[in-house]
């Protein structure tokens, strides 16, 4: 923990971190881009999850819905990751001790692991349930987990500002 805190303090003190933090427009602009990227990422993920649950587009094959939306999800993820890293860079020392940030950081790998497990297990047999309105229980479980984890990430992300203290 000590080493990580020092690393965060060093990042916080770098000229880039300071420049982003102290600028009038750069920080709000990055934050706005970050929020819009989350809408793109979570919006497309949620549509696929709702399809797995049989709540939307149930007459469309799962593989088509998922396959056609995946590039947009990745685009949202890329922008979210880069903008999020810049925001972290600027606030590293103060955000490191923020409980909401820590929760978000805990939920993010879980939200990433969930589709990975889904892809390499139940999704391998997608051809047998591709056109089923309601998918197998394990696919629906993955969808519920995904919706819950991303909701948690949005809530924790917004809560960061409520716990924020200036250094």
């Amino acid at each position: 923990m000590g080493l990580l805190l020092h690393l965060c303090q060093w990042l916080y003190g770098t000229s880039t971190g300071t420049a982003i933090r102290e600028s009038t427009y750069v920080f709000p602009i990055i934050e706005t881009v970050h929020t819009l990227a989350i809408v793109l990422l979570v919006g497309t993920v949620a549509i696929v999850d709702l399809r797995l649950l049989g709540l939307v587009l149930k007459r469309e094959p799962v593989s088509q819905v998922a396959g056609q939306l995946l590039p947009w999800t990745w685009a949202g993820f890329a922008v979210m990751f880069v903008s999020g890293s810049l925001l972290f860079w600027a606030e590293a020392a103060t955000i490191f001790v923020n409980p909401a940030f820590r929760l978000k950081l805990l939920l993010l790998p879980l939200a990433g692991l969930n589709p990975l497990i889904f892809h390499f297990t139940i999704y391998r047999s997608v051809s047998s349930w591709d056109v089923a309105p309601v998918t197998p229980a394990r696919a629906r479980l993955a969808a519920v987990l995904s919706l819950s984890l991303w909701s948690g990430i949005i809530i924790a992300g917004r809560a960061i500002a409520y716990f924020h203290r200036q250094a």
């Binding site: 706005t32 809408v39 469309e60 088509q64 056609q68 939306l69």
Partner: protein
Amino acid sequence: MSFLRLFHWLSHTWVGVAMRDSTWGFAIVEMCHLLALAILGGTVLILNLRLVGLGLRRQSVSRLAGELLPWFTGSLVMMVISGFLLLSSGPMRYYYNEAFRLKMLLTLPAIVFQFILLRLGGAQAEGPTPAWSRLSAVVSLGLWLSVGIAGRAIGFI
């Protein structure tokens, strides 16, 4: 009644007083607002991208419009209700906030325009999307993007 008087009145209603005095009220309602945004943003993106000719290209516009309409309407209702509650926590603060004014001015045409596109899209025949519908989808995406940016800016002013 002028907007100023309406906002002033709202700040004294029991909803306004409850939202202002509650410790967690604003935070909880704001998170609901954001969660509804994820769904609204997702449906708006998928529908308009389809009209442009991107994303779910192998599905017909009319089917997508029909399937996504309840989710669009549902999340929109949730956003309007939660947004109204957020506003009631400090109407006068928002009345003088330029980003808020801009957001309200943009939200109305964005909603009306999207409903028109959904109606027209629902009646659209199979085949390639006509140029006018691709253009209006780009306009719609631009409107929603501006609403989002103005919304985020409320907190910075």
